[in-house]
């Protein structure tokens, strides 16, 4: 079940648990997948010799964990620099220094903040709408097999829509402006929320329900103290997954038809063939999204679920 592994949003990939048949050409997703099970044990695979172990040990000890993260970054930056100077030339691939300069420029000019807030605002607003639509839908699906059968198909279709479809359709329907991205975000969030909430409803602990009944608790109390807390972990899981999927689709939709926001800026730099600008926006964007995904959301979840710590 969705469990404390929520907080193990570690830097190690772990196999995602029990996926439902929902799948589709989203930007790589498993919509209703429950959260990752325990991270895979860091085993030595066959072929690791004794000398390899010594080397690893030495390196690990010498640098420590944080050092390795920095080290990894350094490797990437170094190869980038090398490629840019010696392999392809700086017009094609600007050096890390040039890109960094561009990022700082964006920061100081305020452009970064302006477009970031536009995109983040779009995502939040769209998600709120999607969650508001998905919550009652999920409850309906969770409680009634009839509705589950009826709505499952269309929800799967919604989830399977490729980003390009969103881009084109939103542009066709809403033209330029923020409406398209907001609707896209809502359409991405809604099925995730619905499915996971349905799962949560089905998983409500019957013993707790019966306990509440034997103490003659009112319906409102049961909803407030038993149902809603039971659903919350599933809700959070769905928001986390929806976010991981949704920001990529919002990016696409913004590339197609926004007037502000990160996707818009990425398109703008693309059209003016400013590779350094494009890389600057891309890196900042991804850094921000990863930060939200891995740090902000995880912290919020930890706070809400601290009763699990035990």
């Amino acid at each position: 079940m969705v469990s404390a592994n929520v907080s193990e949003a570690s830097d190690r990939p772990g196999p995602a648990e029990g996926s439902t048949p929902l799948r589709g050409p989203g930007a790589g997703d498993d919509p209703a997948a429950r959260l990752a099970g325990a991270p895979a044990p860091a085993d030595r695979a066959a072929g690791a010799g004794a000398s390899n172990r010594l080397l690893t040990g030495a390196v690990a000890r010498a640098t420590g964990k944080a050092g390795l993260v920095v080290g990894g970054l350094a490797v990437v930056v170094a190869s980038w620099w090398g490629a840019s100077l010696y392999v392809v030339g700086t017009t094609t691939l600007p050096t890390p220094a040039e890109v960094l300069e561009a990022i700082l420029e964006l920061l100081t000019s305020g452009a970064l903040v302006r477009h970031f807030s536009a995109s983040v605002g779009v995502i939040c607003f769209g998600f709120a709408i999607g969650a508001a639509a998905g919550l009652p839908t999920g409850i309906l699906i969770g409680r009634s097999r009839y509705w589950q059968i009826l709505l499952e198909g269309p929800i799967m279709v919604l989830v399977s829509l490729p980003g390009l479809a969103f881009g084109v359709l939103m542009l066709a329907a809403f033209g330029l402006g923020p409406t398209g991205p907001v609707v896209a975000a809502a359409l991405v969030a809604m099925p995730y929320v619905a499915i996971n909430v349905a799962e949560g409803i089905r998983a409500v602990d019957r013993d707790l329900l019966r306990m509440s009944q034997s103490y003659r608790c009112s319906r409102a109390e049961i909803v407030r103290h038993v149902l809603i807390p039971s659903i919350l972990p599933y809700l959070f899981a769905s928001l986390r997954y929806a976010f991981a999927q949704g920001w990529k689709i919002v990016a696409i939709v913004e590339v197609f038809g926004a007037t502000a926001g990160i996707g818009f800026m990425i398109r703008a730099t693309y059209q003016s063939y400013a590779v350094d600008g494009m890389l600057a926006w891309t890196i900042s964007f991804i850094a921000l999204m990863l930060f939200v995904e891995r740090i902000v959301l995880v912290q919020v979840e930890n706070r809400v679920f601290r009763w699990r710590a035990g």
């Binding site: 013993d207 306990m211 807390p229 601290r306 009763w307």
Partner: protein, 250 residues
Amino acid sequence: MAAIEVRGVRKVFGTGDHQTVAIEDISFSVADGEFVSVVGPSGCGKTTLLNIISGVEKATAGEVVVGDGSEVRIGYVFQEPRLLPWRRVLDNILYVLPGRGRNNRARALEFLGMVGLEDVARKWPNQLSGGMQQRVGIARALAVEPALLLMDEPFSHLDAMTARALRGQLQDIWLATGLTVLFVTHDIAEAVQLSDRIVVLARGGTVREVLPIELEHPRLSSDPRVGALQAEIMGRFDDVPSREAVGGTR
């Protein structure tokens, strides 16, 4: 404090071809302030009986009269603590108390104190041991100030030491409050130690016999008369397992 009258209760689950008779026919009575145990093998409908008495389920036939027939407050202690894991201990007790108000908090703390857990009021259930969680469950049942306490194998999932301690505490509480207690267990030794009478059920849900236990209270499990009575009764019911017969802890 309430008396219980169980008359000809019958419970059938399912309809048509797929019917299971959980309770064939059970009749017995519990006097006001009495401690009565119900023992029997698994499948004799003990939990169903409790559910019917507490009103969570309805009997297919027969009737159950609790107290004078009007709405009676009932405390229910289950096998598992059934605490809301996302609420602190104190809030778990507040959950079952009607209405709001300052008095409730004081009451809840008082009953937590009765089981010796006033210190953990702010903790989460996950932070407590199994025995402590069960004690919270007992405190919760007592906090509604019930006329009747229903207990469904409350100590069966605890280790022997904790169960022993809790049995002693339960006895003290019962002697202090004069509650009517209906106590379901599969452990005859436990029933002998605690109850005024033992209702023995047979598989399929009928009353096999009713045994009065005429030792005075409080009873210590170390009292040799208690032990002798336990051995004698257990000898008569080879098919009803008890802790000692099975050997070792659960």
